[in-house]
């Protein structure tokens, strides 16, 4: 039937934004970037906002969750100081010793950043500038790590993106301190943000990349953030995300990662702030012997909705993947973990294992899990597990019998539960900061 599906208000507003805003988007006057944006828009428009009848979005219906599409955030956000940034990050994360790359409303703010001592090893550039004056490198790089089946939200991002940064880590560079990409939303009125980071890690390089998403103030924000990451052969990448957007934020984030031969990728996502969060992680093994460990912790309460969706694509033999997620869900919160491990026909000796644990603190919390395996090669070892339940009454009793009052005993058990996920972070400083965030969260801060 050729009947056109009715567009929702948000979809109509997005269409309007693209139509009127396109001429002002960076690079819209350049041939290939203009074509790229238009093609991406077509991909998005053909499907519209994903809804529950789309299998991958079964549990996160954007048609229902996004009533409006907010207008694009103004290019230059609020005048922010370093103190504002620290406050937005919170004391624990602000205290981390990192090379700071501050991005406000999608725009790279050199004056707030701190890149001392990484010259020659890391090159950081604003994406909006790069798009306005695109190089061949950008043309060859942008969008090349897109997931196999495409992704509507990443396409929407490509059509509307206004900025972000390009981070290029030189081959063999070994960075001691993490690179901290700090995405701050600072708006006066409800606004939408489409940002993209392109990270290129050279062969044999070792880097920790920390991405923080947070807000200055409590104005509603719709965020569509994409990070494309290419890890060269034998590169060692730690990729960590803190999602601590304000409670009125719809946080859509997509990581698209491609790993070279024997590259090692350890990713962690700590997701807590936003009202609605969809964290997508697509990892593709492009060279043999790669390793991808993706883990995360989710803390949700109130009416928060947190969805982590992963696709791990074993396209080549002898790669190892692990996914490990822990969710604590209170009140009416809804937590979702979907992970698809795909082992392609010739990807022999693949080793994949995924686990998701949901801990529900209230009667009305909900945990949905879909651990999926799609396997076309026979010489593989793959497994998945998922559990859900509430705080173990026996353990609680044990602690109380030892004189610990119930609220503390409960908090202790929840901290221990999340602690197991945090242990996957190899950097002590980051782990401790997240651990402190967990404690504050438990105290209701």
């Amino acid at each position: 039937m050729a009947t056109e599906v009715l567009k929702t208000k948000a979809e109509q507003e997005l269409a309007q934004q693209f139509e009127t805003g396109m001429p002002n988007l960076p690079g819209s006057d350049v041939g290939w970037t203009k074509a790229m944006r238009e093609a991406a828009w077509q991909t998005y428009a053909a499907a519209g906002l994903p809804h529950r009848r789309v299998e991958e979005w079964k549990y996160t219906d954007l048609r229902a969750l996004l009533k409006d599409a907010y207008p694009p955030a103004p290019a230059l956000g609020e005048a922010l100081t370093a103190e504002n940034i620290d406050a937005a990050l919170g004391e624990h994360v602000a205290a981390l010793d990192c090379h700071r790359i501050v991005i406000v409303n999608g725009h790279f703010r050199e004056e707030l950043s701190d890149l001392d001592g990484i010259g020659g090893q890391v090159e950081v550039r604003s994406l909006s500038e790069a798009l306005s004056d695109p190089s061949d490198w950008l043309q060859n790089t942008l969008g090349q790590v897109a997931p196999q089946d495409g992704d509507v939200i990443a396409s929407l991002n490509a059509a509307l993106m206004t900025g972000g940064v390009i981070v290029r880590v030189a081959a063999e560079a070994k960075l001691e301190k993490p690179l901290h990409l700090i995405h701050v939303a600072a708006v006066k009125d409800a606004a939408g943000l489409a940002t993209r980071n392109i990270v290129d890690v050279g062969a044999d390089a070792a880097v920790t990349l920390l991405e923080s998403y947070t807000g200055h103030g409590a104005i509603p924000v719709q965020r569509n953030a994409v990070t494309e990451l290419v890890a060269g052969d034998k590169a060692d990448v730690h990729h960590i995300k803190l999602q601590n957007d304000n409670a009125h934020t719809a946080h859509l984030s997509t990581w698209m990662t491609r790993l070279g031969t024997r590259a090692s990728y350890r990713a962690f996502q700590f997701s807590t702030g936003a009202d609605v969060a969809r964290n997508q992680i697509f990892v593709q093994f492009a060279g043999e012997g790669g390793l991808s460990h993706v883990s995360g912790a989710v803390l949700s309460r109130g009416k928060q909705h947190d969805d982590t969706t992963m696709v791990i694509d074993h396209a080549v033999p002898e790669c190892e993947s692990r996914e490990f997620f822990k969710l604590v869900l209170d009140d009416d919160a809804r937590g979702i973990v979907q992970c698809k491990v795909n082992v392609q026909r010739d990807a022999q000796k693949s080793d994949g294992h995924q686990i998701a644990h949901g801990l529900m603190l209230s009667e009305t919390a909900e945990f949905d899990s879909k651990p999926e395996l799609e396997i076309f090669a026979d010489d593989v070892v793959c497994g998945h597990g998922s559990t859900s339940g509430q705080v173990d009454e026996d353990l609680l009793f044990y602690l109380r019998a030892r004189g610990i009052p119930e609220p503390q005993a409960r908090a202790l058990l929840i901290e221990a539960f999340i602690g197991e996920a945090l242990e996957k972070i190899e950097r002590d400083d980051v782990r401790e900061a997240f651990s402190a965030l967990t404690s504050s969260w438990l105290k209701g801060e």
């Binding site: 299998e55 949905d368 076309f376 597990g385």
Partner: protein, 509 residues
């Protein structure tokens, strides 16, 4: 382990002709004209001498079916089915009208003999022994063929669109159990049929269930009254024989309060180049404290080595644990069919009700299996258990798809799921797609799954002890599926082990 030895021997015995039920019976049949329209629905209803309300029910389903689209979400691929190119009704001519067992067409008896239906039933079917008489087999086994002699199985034999014969009816009637074809039940027990038919799988449920509701031709009906433990195993044997026919059977089993029944189902079809459609609906209803055990050995023709022909097995099976403390247990062994697409499910409505699903799905050649279960926890303190073993060989694809969900009010729901897949060869695929939805904090769900190939070490170990590779594979596979096989009634265990050998033959090397 004698059972395993048997499998090994079976594997050895197998000749080129893998599918031994692939013969065709030459028997005169009555068919409805090809195609599907309201007149065909009326024709079927008339053939069955159905009351008006049943016809209305069918027509309602048919009207709805016309508005529905074929579902596309499953992981199976097949050319579009032309629903107008099928016969919706075919019956052996000789079975029209009431008859005694002795009048059964010898061709039919021979068919069932060839299919290897347990000996005692063949005796009954062949009229060697009158119903209720002690069997010489019982005597040989040293068992007095008493009223409820051991190991008796009552059979409802369904040939194409109709039930040919139902055995042990009188003996079952003594216990108050009603076991007959569904068409007979519509005529004889309309109050029960009206009350329960479509109450678990409504006519609007899904494309194939709705089609079935419109055109179902036969199937079994079981009613076990309050407090009765059904004195013997009940069984239905389905056989597709006619060309270009679709088989649409409907099974309805009601276990009243405190009763118990065990039901087995077996199916085969001739080898043909065309694909045949089988779209059945099975509804189970367990009231307070009742238990239903439903076992299936599905061995429809799977198609030939190149993937030509075979049965499309699109089945809706659902059990409703309607009463408190009720239990429904599904056990299935899926070795046949070109495409299997079924999800025997349990709705755990009653408090403390229990749902179980044990499955072995084996695919070889170009078979496609998309099977699993749904456990829907609605009542308090409900428990469910899922054990699924998928084995993929050849060019086949084997998918486990399952849903476990706990409703908001389902406090104390428990589920354990283990689904394991085994891959034999590098051209096949094994997929696991579980959905786990916990809407209640006290729900405790555990899910685990593994996929692996047969361990080289185990193979080497067996071969070092003088087994050839095929025997070793059969042995290891039998070990892999043992958890499920043990849940099958005794009568089916041996057959299943043989089937596993057959299905995997040709998968090594």
């Amino acid at each position: 382990m004698p059972a395993v030895q048997e499998t090994v021997e079976q594997v050895r015995e197998i000749d080129v002709d893998k599918y031994k039920y692939g013969f065709e019976t030459d028997i005169e049949t009555v068919k409805a004209p090809k195609g599907l329209n309201e007149d065909i629905v009326r024709f079927i209803s008339e053939k069955k001498s159905e009351p008006e309300w049943m016809l209305e029910w069918r027509l309602g389903a048919f009207k709805r079916w016309l508005t529905m689209d074929e579902p596309k979400w499953s992981r199976v691929h097949y050319p579009k089915i032309d629903f107008q190119d099928l016969y919706y009704y075919a019956a052996p001519k000789s079975t029209e009208g009431p008859k005694s067992l002795d009048e059964v067409d010898p061709e039919l008896l021979e068919t069932y003999a060839k299919l290897g239906i347990p000996l005692k039933e063949q005796e009954i079917l062949a009229g060697v022994r009158k119903q209720g008489e002690p069997s010489h087999l019982d005597e040989e086994a040293g068992i007095a063929g008493g009223e409820y002699g051991s190991g008796k199985v009552a059979i409802d034999a369904v040939f194409d669109s109709v039930s040919v014969v139902t055995t042990f009816k009188e003996e079952l009637a003594k216990a108050g159990v009603i076991f007959c074809s569904i068409s007979e039940a519509v005529r004889e027990h309309p109050e029960l049929v009206k009350k329960y038919l479509g109450s678990v799988v409504p006519t609007s449920d899904n494309f194939y269930a709705t089609l079935n509701s419109a055109v179902f031709s036969d199937g079994s009906f079981v009613y076990v009254p309050e407090g009765v433990r059904c004195p013997m195993e009940l069984s239905t044997y389905f056989r597709i024989n006619e060309k270009d026919t679709g088989q649409f059977e409907r099974t309805l089993i009601i276990a009243d309060k405190g009763s118990y029944v065990s039901y087995l189902e077996g199916c085969t079809a001739p080898m043909r180049d065309e694909n045949q459609l089988h779209a059945a609906v099975v509804e189970l209803i367990a009231l307070d404290d009742a238990e239903i055990k439903y076992s299936t050995v599905q061995n429809w023709y799977p198609g030939d080595k190149e993937g030509k022909g075979g049965v499309y097995n699109f089945v809706t099976k659902r059990g409703d644990c309607r009463g408190k403390n009720s239990k429904i247990s599904w056990t299935q062994v899926e070795t046949g069919s070109a495409i299997t697409w079924k999800y025997p499910s349990c709705i755990l409505r009653g408090d403390n009700s229990v749902g179980e699903f044990y499955s072995i799905a084996i695919s070889n050649g170009y078979q496609q299996v998309d099977s699993g279960t749904k456990m829907i926890h609605l009542g308090k303190n409900t428990t469910s258990r899922i054990i699924s073993k998928g084995i993929a060989a050849g060019h086949s694809d084997n998918t486990y798809r399952g849903l476990v969900s706990a409703h908001r009010k389902a406090t104390g729901a428990r589920n354990f799921t283990a689904c394991d897949s085994l891959l034999i060869g590098d051209k096949c695929g094994a997929h696991t797609i579980p959905y786990i939805e916990a809407k209640n904090s006290s729900a405790m769900f555990e899910h685990e799954a593994t996929t692996s190939k047969i361990s080289e070490d185990q193979l080497f170990y067996c071969q070092a002890r003088g087994m050839n590779e095929e025997e070793a594979v059969a042995l290891i596979v039998n070990g892999f599926v043992r958890d499920v096989i043990q849940k099958l009634p005794m009568e089916f265990m041996a057959e299943t082990q043989r089937l596993i050998g057959i299905s995997l033959e040709g998968s090594v090397g």
